[in-house]
């Protein structure tokens, strides 16, 4: 049960991180995992263990720490999605996938607003978001599909995400 050499003291630190960020993180992660509670719990756990491992170089400013935790959780979720896509027969809890979400209507409205904002972007900006994040592709994978250098994917994605963020902000979403 202890492959990473986590001792009791470390466990207490991870527990403290869990106390501080666990529920807020779980709330965010749950949506990204399609409300798969078991998967979401695993992601939160893994995120906080990674946070503890990086404790030395973490920025302690709360907003920054939160942004960092979200990024770590995001990567864990994306890895999970890729693994599930590669080995769909190993996906567990298939019977639970259709469990309804408590705030479904609120989420549907948000989805519509974001989808509309995406439509308002330039074709180039929309395409780069579609071909990367929305299709679970890394920058390098998307670069091959789009036939442009990875550096161009990254800069195009940056301007696309900024434009999307600006649009949503103007609509009062964020």
């Amino acid at each position: 049960m202890d492959p990473d050499g986590i001792n009791e003291r470390d466990e207490r630190m991870i527990h403290a991180l869990y106390e501080a960020f666990g529920s807020r993180l779980l709330h965010h992660v749950r949506r990204a995992t399609g409300n798969d509670h078991h998967w979401a719990e695993d992601v939160v756990q893994e995120t906080l263990v990674r946070a503890w491992r990086h404790a030395g170089k973490l920025n302690k400013e709360p907003g920054m720490l939160w942004a960092w935790l979200l990024t770590v959780a995001r990567r864990i979720i994306i890895d999970g999605r890729r693994r599930r896509r590669a080995r769909p027969e190993e996906v567990e809890d298939t019977g639970l996938e259709t469990v309804s979400v408590p705030d479904e209507s609120e989420q549907t409205i948000a989805a519509m607003v974001v989808a509309d904002a995406l439509e308002r972007l330039s074709a180039e900006h929309r395409e780069v978001i579609e071909e990367t994040y929305l299709k679970d592709r890394t920058i390098n994978e998307a670069a091959e599909v789009l036939r442009i250098p990875p550096g161009t994917v990254k800069s195009r994605l940056y301007y696309a995400i900024r434009a999307l963020r600006k649009d949503l902000k103007e609509k009062g979403v964020t």
Partner: protein, 64 residues
């Protein structure tokens, strides 16, 4: 090695950088207040994009 370009912050926030690039950007992030501010700005974008993912059922693929 030259530092990673600032615009990598978007790919970083979305978790799309390859492991080496991710590590490199993270080291840069610790030093760069501009990128830190930008990361805070962009932190909620992935969750917003996930709303679209939820709307598109995996069986249906792309939206109609």
């Amino acid at each position: 090695m030259s530092p990673p370009p600032h615009h990598e912050v978007a790919a970083y926030a979305l978790g799309l950088l390859d492991p080496e690039d991710h590590e490199a950007f993270e080291s840069h992030l610790v030093e760069c207040v501009d990128c830190q501010a930008e990361l805070r700005e962009l932190a909620d974008v992935p969750a917003l994009l996930d709303e679209i993912r939820r709307r598109r059922s995996p069986l249906e693929g792309r939206q109609g």
